[in-house]
Symmetry: D3
Subunit: 247 residues, 6 copies
């Protein structure tokens, strides 16, 4: 099966890191096709970044439909344009926050999210709410580490994050940690080893969740909200994005 992993930001080295993580967990027979956004923000740290990142993301989904993808992973913890992507897609589309929260709710009575910037904390609460996961979410904690500092060699980012995870266990009584940024994917096991409690990372979880749904032959329902966008002609510079007839 073919799963397209879309990094909705343009930072290629994040895409490569996520691709490595994804391949490591993918089953034999699963092909991971990872792409970065072709334009837009190099990191997504607020609603405006998110709105602007949607364009390239949706383009990649639409392209993926022609390429015969079986499913998609949206690889940014804000799960941008998830519902719009589902309108375009025949197969399942999974957000990494969605996948991580689902998994956390299975293996632990609760979780805390440890994320980067304080200004994105409300976004994580919104996600927890829309997935029904608010009841499992003890807290959303910011570290004020910038997304793009996460993999700078010698940066203190990792130790700051580990410290915050420890606080989440001690102060929130959380029994597991959800990492609130795709950029943290590669340190997941390092953090887990450091804190001694399950740490759930969305990229790999979403890949496996997608594999599962595809294997089950489950596809996005085309009744109601997730039906193919109505065919219409868009105006001006966005004309190329006009939704055509459902295939």
């Amino acid at each position: 099966m073919r799963i397209k992993l879309i990094n909705p930001n343009t930072t290629e080295r994040m895409t490569l890191a996520m691709d490595r993580c994804a391949r490591e967990v993918a089953s034999t027979g699963t092909q991971i096709i990872s792409v970065s956004a072709s334009m837009g923000p190099p990191s997504i740290e607020g609603y405006y970044d998110e709105a602007l990142a949607s364009l390239a993301l949706l383009q990649e989904i639409e392209k993926g439909e022609k390429e015969g993808m079986d499913g998609y992973v949206i690889a940014c913890f804000g799960d941008p344009a998830l519902y719009a992507a589902r309108e375009l897609s025949r197969g399942p589309v999974i957000g990494i926050a969605e996948a991580a929260m689902h998994a956390a709710s299975v293996i632990a009575p609760s979780f805390s999210v440890v994320t980067t910037l304080k200004r994105t904390c409300t976004m994580s609460w919104h996600l927890a709410e829309r997935y029904g996961m608010k009841r499992f979410c003890k807290n959303v904690r910011a570290t004020d580490v910038a997304v793009l500092d996460l993999d700078i060699p010698g940066s203190r980012a990792r130790s700051i994050i580990i410290e915050e995870c420890r606080k989440a266990l001690a102060e929130d009584d959380a029994e597991s940690i959800v990492l609130g940024c795709a950029g943290m994917a590669e340190f997941c096991h390092e953090i887990e080893d450091a804190i001694g409690a399950p740490v759930i990372e969305g990229v790999t979880t979403a890949v496996k969740w997608a594999e599962a749904l595809i294997a089950l032959k489950l596809r996005t329902s085309k009744r109601g909200d997730y039906a193919r966008p109505l065919a219409k002609q868009y105006d001006g510079a966005l004309a190329p994005y006009s939704p055509g007839k459902p295939r």
Copy 2:
């Protein structure tokens, strides 16, 4: 004061109709500046349309900041990109669904939303939830009237909508009606007269709500989520949208 009313779709005659409605209720001294999206979908009937409409909408907000606007009305019942718009804006930004639901909750114990397409019903429920208005919302009812048919002379659209409003009163025990589409603005009083119960329409309500907040010198909080987007350079075709430094 200057309020910019942004129709996030490109259909000029809808913008003109909304402009007429807005001017009719605006106070002396309030200047209404109505604009249509410069590109994108001619009507917004799903998540994909909404995501694509955000681009021109946010452009208009950013332009508005330079033009010295005091506040904004997002004139589409889905309130697209509302939070992103608030990041850009110093003054208040109000969605028409938000304004209509607030008003309905003041003048009646509950409301039902009467909207166009069934596929957008869940979107209205999501809005009701995020504004805290779910407890007042008895039902969301689709008429399966297309947005752009609403003002076609001789179309049955109006009588279908009036009929659905009557059903909402009778079957849902709703005590008021919220019109779930900006395109219905001009018929608001006609519907109210026909059904004998308050009918709330978002465009005019949002204009008055914006006027009120601006008169109170209330501005979008720049702490937390609605802070100005972090300054960064966007890549590729979206480079012109890069958020600059806060002014």
Copy 3:
């Protein structure tokens, strides 16, 4: 238009202060008619005070209907007898807590309420719940300043309140402050200047919200709960309060 601002307590100097605030924000053409309760508690600091304050308040609404008022503001943060007032009134009736919370939810992702006595905190939570605003309310904070000390010259009341607002920003991560007592109306801008974040005060907000709804010709729905009270003869000393036939 004519808006009656009813202070449900008997303290004239609070009424005068609120009247000043209201007039300052009222549009040209809006007449503010401010009255104090003709009897009952000089301050409202609990459920019993509130229940007893309802009598004079409802009397003023009923009188207002004869005087041709277009709408009403109930100027006490507990929004006493709001639904009963709506039964009597043809135009909109707005509580100051309701108005303040609505406004806060538009200009900021969340708010904390800063109020006077600890014993009224649960009351504020109840209000937040019934208006659907609980999801925006980070905290309700008491200062244990007595209502009637607020405007005593040289009292420490103001600095205590400013201090508590600062704590709300820092400890609750609230992005705005709702002042939880009508008596704080006059210091609103002073507090805002001191803390550097939006401070919402209910009296002025309710006046503008009322103006907006009246301009929109929205009136209290007479279907369901807010229908005119059933005409009946009350017994004994309360006979003069008997609800007559709807006009």
Copy 4:
């Protein structure tokens, strides 16, 4: 022990009927002291009636404290002024809606409320919410029987109510019925026999719940909201209602 049963309306024959019901279930050693409101509405059918009924009700609580009552039952399904009454009382104060809903939630997975007027349905939903009983409440059904018609000989009121209870079982899948009006107390067993499912009536349930709490020596907490009203001098005609110092 001495339990004061307060009918907050002035209709003596309802009080007598409730007194008979109460005495029938009271334990040996429990003295039931039933009183009607000394003034105000003869029936409570809306928010205004309820607000006006509070005066006499609270007077009776305050008097009861001097008479040495051990607890109180507020015998109107709207549970008017319950929290204010608790401020005045040392012993427990129980509303009949509260008691009936608690009991229903113990003996059945859910209940439907069958009440009199449609305009009071929202009030019942509010009660269910504030007692945490919304999750057990399948529906609130109006019969549009007037409160004071309930015991008119030969009236069709009873058969209408029985019919509505049957519908609640069949259409709502409710497993029990809560009678939504104190005036229905005497027909409780008649209805139960007719429909073959548990029917819970608040007057008797509240009496037994009060007995239980009094026997357990549980008293209203005087910390927080239910503390004795602050001592203060009320103005004008309400001066006699001024809350004095806690005893």
Copy 5:
């Protein structure tokens, strides 16, 4: 009337202590029949203990039906197998957590639970949720006192619990305390005296609540979920537990 109090653990001295508490509050004419589980865990401190304790508990209910019991109290704060017990029983079955939370919600605006082990805190939150009492529950606090240490003479258990109750009042702003373990029943008044706020203990409260419901002739609804288990033959060692035909 005959109420069977079932201690679902096997520790006889806890049963005896609860029996003493129950008899102290029981009305004349109420017979308390207290039994310990005939097999299973000596204390219930987690989900596994709880599942295993269900067997003997349900056996005692089934036996009770033959003995002609009028109602049951499940005397463990987790209220194990409550719904299954209701399927078997004709009369009311009450859990001690359920009863305590109901009572607390009547006499105080909120409560905190003070329990034994941290690992059972989520269980208490689940209970609060299923009874609709979450809105009254400020906190669930663990003392890490083992259930069976509670009555060891000279143990520090009591002073640790009193200390935690004090913290609940001060830090949670709770106005009452619910004791989260049947083993604390005997110290209830001692704790109340020490902290000066209402302390609710479930064993005695459940006994009185059961008495009340039985006196009201309320029985478990046999419609829907709580209907008698379908008659069927169980396999193997559990054959003796096969549910027979409803009597």
Copy 6:
């Protein structure tokens, strides 16, 4: 990896059917070990059946830990004893209702559950609530088909179920169906073909979800509630079930 699929009832032919379904979707390298309960109810149709089924189920988990299982699927739609099972297990334990609801929430905006007996509908609502899936669940529909009739050749069970699924789409506006009984696993694709909308079946979904979590090396958190049961000696006939020391 080795996944143990536990049918908590004793009906071997259901276990075999589920085993066939499970093997069909399992990845190469996944070993499915399916077992029936060694004792207890042949079908689970209520709380009592569920409580009694827990014993054999937990025994199989404990055995599985010694057999070196990597994870477990509890193959009954009530997800009996799920939390207790997690206390015993090191690897993930997944309920089929939990897995099916998670999957449905990814591929569709909402689902309706179609189950067997009316008396189990509330149980499904409880499950939806505890997994946070209530917001996605439009309805729970009973067919009053008995579990063990599902695979009787020539029974009308299948057509009744298909009919109910169709109603769910039409009347509930559900966009997908969750099958509410493990016994329906084998007809999943048949139903999907008949109704033309996604049908989610828990057994296969749980197997894939388990595979995913195990591949991700996620294990049940041993902090908090799901920690190994405290080691203690059980009494009487249940002594063999005494939880020993964590391994």
